[in-house]
Amino acid sequence: MSTRIDAVRKVALASEILGLYARVRRHVRRGDIRDVVASIRSRPARRTQSFETGSAEAWPTAARLARAVTRTLGALPTETRCLAQSVVLLWLLSRRGIPSTLVIGAQTSPEFEAHAWIEHAGRPLLSPGSFADGRLVEI
């Protein structure tokens, strides 16, 4: 019975992620990423009680959601850019009252590349790859 409930929850979460992804793709094309993030954060959380940053309860939930985002969006046949993935995760976390930070970084060698990821309490939830030392902005 619990296996069935888990499966139903996973499907519901995957559906939520895909729904948010479609909305995020529209939002991030519109302009300043800080406005997009501020708009998401201004929406009320679904939980009445928010998590404390870095609390013992928040991290496992945040990490589980990050894995779900990577798994769900990674399965899409189209390229899901790191920024869209990051904003989807930020939105999921925000809905559950878990604070997070969107980090955008860059590297210039061997060629210019930029990358975005999400952190909670200073720890990455999505991989920063080789960009951890190239932080440009935290939102």
């Binding site: 210039t108 210019f112 440009l136």
Partner: protein, 103 residues
């Protein structure tokens, strides 16, 4: 018509106060600097001298003062630095990476 070494526009820019917009962030990576316009979602790359110039412009907010500091730092003639700086500032302004404050 009188030929002058600099246009009035260039002189006005040299006398201007400038600032880096709130939606622009930049960082030095040693041999080059990355400038990101959050509003436009565009990345720009400038060489180390350009990055240092942007940093000083942002700190002092005065084009002429920036020219003086750069001339000291790089041991170059002030007039030469001013010409290069005006050109660089025009490029930044065109890309919305620098704002000229109203007089």
């Amino acid at each position: 018509m009188t030929l002058t070494s600099r246009t009035e526009r260039a002189d006005a820019l040299l006398a201007s106060r400038v600032r880096v917009p709130d939606d622009v962030v930049y960082r030095s990576f040693g041999h080059e600097s990355v400038v990101l316009s959050l509003a436009e979602g565009k990345y720009h790359s400038v060489n180390a001298t350009g990055g240092r110039t942007l940093e000083i412009l942002d700190q002092v907010g005065s084009v002429s003062r920036t020219a003086t500091l750069l001339a000291d730092e790089y041991g170059r003639e002030l007039s030469e630095v001013e010409d290069d700086l005006i050109e660089f500032c025009e490029l930044l302004v065109d890309r919305r990476l620098l704002i000229v404050e109203p007089a």
